[in-house]
């Protein structure tokens, strides 16, 4: 029997159990709600480049329901069911017309919990930190810091992959896995023991040509020491991986270690970490960047009530297996912030300098990037916030391999923004304005210039009635011949809580996007008219 049909049967059985539980608990105090979002929209797309639009012309519908049910069962067990379903008639939102987005059923008492369906299997970063479709169990001991938890299931990202006999073509090869974690808290110390395992179904018809099928197990230990503002935590993991390829099976093993420290020493906040992940460490259910040695240290302190300074050193390199090309990155950054500049209560100035050096060994080349950034924030007339930011980045690239040579580029970024707040007897108005200019030197010959402009206002009556409009303009003038473009976007909306829709809102929205290009055959124009109902049912 295939796994899919087994899971189909499991799903049916689960559904039966859930219905039975729900029916059986009808007399008990239960909480039930269905939150619905229904959108009806009309798209129109025109112009010679209309094929570039994502929008499907014509009228469409999109609906989502979030179903929630909670009740108390016998002997203080709580049941919580949470599910989401979706319907749409356009692939603009989903390739499926009807789809199950989420199904999670949790049974819990004071110390135990069982989850079926969607479950976050959270053991440790390296061993397993993954959303699965399957089951999870946790048994708590003295308190929430002491427990054992276990999880097992499929790594499928969509329910359609498990439940449909003709799943979407995007379905990946079946992957299953799980693990167990034991955590113990001993006052300032906490430690966790983890073991995870996973495997691909190599015979799955969804396995792509040339795709490796993996199976692996990862034991990991993590610990934390926490006292007086000092937090030190670490994890040590070992992976044993079997990779089935067309040419046979490759077995590899690797290790990963991480140590992080966060504290306040003498008024200085310190964040630091060290990490070493060997080139053959693989984690298919956790997270790590293989072949990396990294050290990071950040310190910041407040010198007095007005001044704060910080410094960062960050270093990493790859090629831990000692092969030919090693790329190392070193970043240094220093900066300072001063509040109440010129005795202005809301005026804050900050500046920073950062240098990032990338070196490739064996004389392949290097890159040095210097960045200077200045920010200014202020408030005028008690209700107008102003911000300005200027940034300059200077890159120097040196290549020693053919074609050898040096290049230098400079980028400049200017950004200004205003936000306001005005109240009348009935309405609160929140206007905003932004302008940005970016100049990016092109290595070839010239500078790409982008201008962005935005003007908008939101109005809120405080009773659920809101309205707003915004206009965006983006102009790109680039060195590439024929590459210039202009984007104009206009948006209006109105939202309120009508009497005929208790506990709900209705929102009307109009969007007009106009894309024009130097090569006019690419031009296109989109208009969207949309009505969205948020309507809820509960007990």
């Amino acid at each position: 029997m295939s796994i899919r049909y087994s899971i189909n049967r499991l799903g049916f059985a689960l559904g039966t159990v859930v219905c039975a539980v729900s029916a059986g608990s009808a007399g008990a105090a239960a909480e039930f709600s269905v939150n619905n979002r229904t959108a009806v929209l009309h798209n129109s797309v025109s112009g010679p480049g209309a094929a570039s639009s994502f929008f499907r012309p014509g009228a469409h519908v999109f609906h989502e329901s979030d179903i929630f049910h909670r009740t108390v069962l016998a002997e203080s067990w709580n049941s919580m069911l949470s599910s989401s379903i979706r319907y749409t008639d356009t692939v603009q939102f989903d390739p499926d017309r009807f789809s199950l987005q989420k199904f999670e059923w949790q049974l819990s008492d004071a110390t135990r919990s069982i989850t079926l369906g969607d479950h976050f299997a959270n053991l440790s970063q390296y061993s397993m930190s993954k959303a699965i479709k399957g089951m999870g169990y946790q048994q708590q001991f003295a308190n929430e810091q002491n427990y054992v938890r276990a999880a097992y299931g499929s790594f499928d990202g969509q329910w359609a992959y498990l439940l449909k006999s003709n799943p979407p073509l995007t379905e990946p090869m079946d992957r299953h896995g799980g693990g167990v974690r034991y955590q113990d808290n001993l006052g300032a110390w906490t430690y966790g023991l983890n073991l995870s395992t996973m495997s691909d179904r190599s015979s799955d018809i969804n396995r792509r040509p040339g795709e490796s099928a993996f199976s692996q197990y990862i034991p990991a230990v993590d610990w934390e020491y926490r006292d007086s503002g000092l937090v030190v935590n670490a994890e040590h993991a070992y992976s044993n991986t079997s990779e089935e390829t067309a040419a046979g099976i490759l077995n590899t093993s690797g290790s990963a270690h991480k140590l992080a420290l966060r504290t306040q020493a003498g008024g200085v906040n310190i964040d630091s970490n060290l990490e070493r992940v060997s080139s053959d460490f693989k984690t298919l259910a956790g997270g790590a960047t293989p072949d990396r040695l990294r050290g990071y240290l950040k310190a910041d302190t407040r010198i007095d009530k007005l001044w704060r300074v910080f410094g960062v050193v960050d270093y990493n390199h790859n090629d831990l297996s000692g092969r030919t090309f090693r790329t190392s990155n070193t970043t240094y950054e220093v900066g300072a912030t001063k509040k109440r500049v010129f005795n202005r209560k809301s005026m804050t100035l900050s500046g920073s300098y950062r240098q990032k050096v990338t070196d490739v060994s064996n004389g392949v080349g290097n890159r040095v990037s210097d960045r200077i950034k200045i920010k200014y924030n202020d408030r005028f007339a008690e209700s107008i916030d102003f911000r300005a930011e200027v940034e300059a980045v200077f890159d120097r690239n040196k290549s020693l391999t053919p074609p050898a040579g040096k290049t230098k580029t400079a980028d400049y970024l200017y950004s200004f923004g205003l936000t306001g707040r005005y109240e009348t007897a009935k309405w609160l108005f929140l206007p905003n304005f932004e302008y940005g200019l970016q100049e990016r030197e092109n290595v070839v010959n010239g500078t790409d210039v982008t201008n962005t402009f935005r003007l908008g206002v939101q109005a809120d009556r405080g009773d659920g009635t809101m309205a707003g409009m915004s206009y965006d303009y983006n102009a790109a003038n680039v060195v590439l011949f024929g590459g210039d473009s202009r984007i104009n976007r206009l948006n209006f909306y109105w939202e309120n809580k009508p009497a005929w829709l208790p506990k709900g809102t209705v929102r009307y929205e109009f969007v007009d996007n106009n894309y024009t290009f130097e090569n006019s055959v690419q031009d296109y124009h989109e208009q969207v008219l949309k009505m969205t109902l948020n309507w809820n049912i509960d007990n």
Binding site: F54, G229, A246, N397
Partner: protein, 444 residues
């Protein structure tokens, strides 16, 4: 000072901190520099949210309240003396209320806030000798948002998309957490490069799931994307599924990690993404080379470093019916063909062949190749631009031989395709190699 020296200094500092942390807890040696009579708030949490380093404002969603309440937990300490009183204020210091003190300076206070109201929070610890904590240290505005945490995460995601599509880097980076799990400075550089090499960025996402996961909120989504490659003017489109995580900070939710395929920072996927969304493995997704500025779509591999890495085997032997034969490999069909030979021979079928006696790699007449030393294939994001040789020769200068210092080769193939091969095992007259193939250019 060399980079290595800098690194060793940081490592030494961390080790010293760590080793000393093993000493008894009350020593708190790291509290150097502070007056020994001056108390300090060393830990502060609002429900599950860390607040010890909040500076200006802290926002808590209505659904993050526990039974409508915020439980403030923390610890006050002094090196010499005793803590006598811990007080909190929610109106900027006009009125103070005492916290419930426990052992070793730990305290709690339960507070039932009003939704959508701003509180001017502060806390002070006073020793039995009358010394008080610095009142500027933990003074900030506390706001209980009328929105749920999930709605706030959706808004943050939408603001990130808006800033990115408008190519507003400062607005984008303001929504990224300092605790970003990839490399934060690499993300910032990658965003700069994205804006340099891509124009007319349009991303239409559909959220498939959003739920709390430990300290984070994980967002699962599918997306349609179109961009114009600013180097070539070519319009590129892709669609795939991806994941990102958000974390509550004092300034609201911020981006804390992303999985490949990336929708932000695509110019440096290797350093920005911390995992791969399996659902998208094998899909054609956008990739940008930050060195050349070339943008194209390429197959999402099983690691953050790029394309799918496959494995195959070639043999040179005389055990078949055709006598001595040399096996040749064709990248686009992933096929192995045997060719009857009487020594190393230029392949008549296939892109390259393997001569097992001397471990020579022999390129076809229509292709070229270059030695890349010992690079791991996973680290090769781009085939070299130049240095390729066309024909096989037994002349010493042109022998492309697999040995301990040269196990990785790049191939320039007809029609603008490229491939890279890393030999991982040589046994008898048989070679096992990993390879990746790009039909559209040098990037993998």
């Amino acid at each position: 000072m060399s980079n290595r020296m800098q690194f060793m200094r940081a490592a030494w500092f961390l080790m010293v901190c760590w080793m000393t942390a093993l000493t008894p807890a009350h020593a708190a040696w790291w509290e150097f520099g502070r007056n020994e009579n001056e108390p300090a708030i060393s830990e502060l949490k609002f429900n599950q949210v860390e607040a010890a380093r909040v500076e200006d404002q802290m926002v808590i969603g209505r659904d993050e309240l526990q039974g409508g309440s915020v439980t403030i937990r923390g610890r006050a300490e002094v090196r010499k003396g005793e803590i006598g009183l811990i007080e909190l204020t929610f109106d900027g210091g006009q009125t103070w209320v005492p916290a419930i003190a426990g052992d070793r300076g730990f305290f709690t206070y339960e507070f039932r806030p009003e939704i959508n109201r701003e509180y001017l929070f502060n806390i002070r610890a006073i020793t039995t000798s009358g010394q008080s904590t610095d009142l500027d240290e933990h003074a900030f505005k506390l706001v209980i948002s009328p929105e749920s945490a999930i709605d706030e995460v959706k808004k943050t995601f939408s603001r990130l998309l808006e800033a990115y599509q408008r190519e507003n880097k400062s607005a984008f980076m303001a929504l990224v957490s300092n605790d970003f799990e990839g490399d934060l400075s690499s993300l910032e550089d990658a965003i700069t490069d994205d804006f340099r090499f891509l124009d007319n960025i349009r991303i239409e996402p559909n959220i498939t799931r959003l739920a709390p996961f430990g300290k984070n909120y994980d967002l699962y989504f599918t997306f349609n994307r179109s961009v114009t490659a600013s180097r070539t003017g070519q319009q590129l489109r892709d669609n795939a599924a991806s994941t990102m995580s958000f974390q509550r900070t004092g300034e609201g939710f911020k981006l804390v990690s992303m999985a490949a395929p990336l929708i932000f920072g695509v110019s440096n996927t290797e350093d920005v993404a911390t995992s791969v969304t399996e659902q998208s493995v094998g899909q054609n997704v956008l990739s940008v080379n930050s060195s050349s500025g070339q943008a194209q779509t390429a197959t999402q591999g099983q690691t953050t470093t790029g394309a799918i890495v496959s494995t195959a085997t070639l043999t040179y032997d005389n055990t078949g019916l055709i006598g001595w034969y040399q096996q040749n490999f064709t990248f686009d069909t992933e096929s192995v063909d045997s060719q009857g030979v009487s020594g190393p021979t230029v392949p008549t079928i296939g892109d390259f062949g393997f001569f097992g006696d001397n471990y020579h790699v022999i390129v076809s007449a229509a292709a070229q190749m270059v030695i890349m030393g010992n690079q791991r294939i996973e680290d090769v994001a781009e085939a070299p631009a130049g240095g390729y040789v066309s024909t096989y020769s037994t002349a010493p200068g042109l022998r492309l031989k697999v040995d301990t210092s040269a196990r990785t080769f790049a191939f320039k193939l007809p029609g603008g395709a490229y491939a890279v091969v890393e030999f991982v095992a040589l046994s008898g007259r048989t070679a096992t190699f990993k390879y990746k193939y790009s039909p559209t250019g040098r990037q993998f």
